[in-house]
Symmetry: D2
Subunit: 145 residues, 4 copies
Amino acid sequence: MPTLLDADQTARVHASFDAQAFMRTLDARMTGLAAGQCELSMPIHAAFAQQHGFLHGAVVTALSDSAAGHAALSLMPPGSSVLAIEYKQNFFAPAVGDTLIARAEVVRSGKSVSVVTAKAFSIAKGVEKPVGLLVATMMTMPDAA
Amino acid sequence: MPTLLDADQTARVHASFDAQAFMRTLDARMTGLAAGQCELSMPIHAAFAQQHGFLHGAVVTALSDSAAGHAALSLMPPGSSVLAIEYKQNFFAPAVGDTLIARAEVVRSGKSVSVVTAKAFSIAKGVEKPVGLLVATMMTMPDAA
Amino acid sequence: MPTLLDADQTARVHASFDAQAFMRTLDARMTGLAAGQCELSMPIHAAFAQQHGFLHGAVVTALSDSAAGHAALSLMPPGSSVLAIEYKQNFFAPAVGDTLIARAEVVRSGKSVSVVTAKAFSIAKGVEKPVGLLVATMMTMPDAA
Amino acid sequence: MPTLLDADQTARVHASFDAQAFMRTLDARMTGLAAGQCELSMPIHAAFAQQHGFLHGAVVTALSDSAAGHAALSLMPPGSSVLAIEYKQNFFAPAVGDTLIARAEVVRSGKSVSVVTAKAFSIAKGVEKPVGLLVATMMTMPDAA
């Protein structure tokens, strides 16, 4: 069972997500949040396609990275922000359908370094299909005073 | 010295790039192309920012991935397209300034699997700064007949 | 619940593992096997240490990679062998204690490309501690006739 | 042109390498060192083979990782040691022949985080062949007082 965040922590994670202009450009929303877990969803839009008309892989990465970062941020102390120092993305299948979902989970939470996985799924006619796996290394950055 | 492509190969690589709607959305252009090498450039626009106002890391990945894919495609036989099966991105510094550039180079070209690196740079007031390194595994996909 | 392999498939996976001289050098044994899953164990020996006396990270990778490869092989048709084309390893903590375990699971099984994760744990005084996560891309290689 | 290290820095890097028992087990030697660069070599020995008799991929990773770590260490201040927090390895071809070489170079040197690439080559009958590329994230660890 996911552990719920308190109201302050929830507000801080949402504030960080809401401040990402690129997530608004993608029309992404936060559809799930718990301690060390975050789910983001976005419509699959033709403006973000690659050369065969499927969603560009880097958009799968964008949603997965943002989900991973906010999953990590949910475990960080107040006055911190999160920075991805690197990630690795595997692609399983093209993302086709109407919706892309990324579900992230912290697998190792350290004081300065955390490791987070994010699985991406596309939904077509109500059926979810796995499309990728991201593993990210996130750093805790103290906000400038 | 880079090896020049012939007119047909050049046209095929450009056609693939021009077909990526997401690259148009990012306002990216192909600014360099040779055998096994590709350079892409885009303006750094506020619509693609993360929570601190810097360019979102996944946009650095998007430009680097597309440069890497088209560098690989430049070495593939006619009737092929390119598919990224996975990549790894390291970030060196935030991308600040007015322009993002990705320069990709094939480091291992195989019949079905190629490995490509792409270095990303941001330009502020005419000064280039390295911002990331991507390593991608690309597959040669025969076009459906 | 893991799905059991039949006797032929079990024999083929064991034969591949037994043929890895490096696994014998590490004194590694296969301690678990099911469809798409494999567990390997080895004693933590001073001959494989890094500069601080902990087990060298690349040994964690070796056991994880071999577990991942044999998890993938367990799902491949007879007459195939498995080849890692790339992997990514994250380290969580130094491996200290007397035993290293790697538990691998196929997360995407394709005809030619599979993706496998492997979690590594060290055991000290009977207590397991996570020490790393590997994500590998494995190819199915038809054996030469 | 590589920048030479002074005698103290050279001694510190060698001391770290000499303290890695696993490198002795592999019979690896440091065959090149400069500021931000390190080359290691080892004989290709049957005890480290995989199931087809080629050198096990994780041994390629081991030599590459150690070369990368010592390349990073060469730029770190006295009183530091180096820790790989993650790496990604691509394989180009099986390592066959009599010698394996790993050549590492720091591509981004930061106060706490560095990024290093290492290319591996096998030598058969005097001919070098590229066998892999590793990209590693290294952290600077202050030695305990």
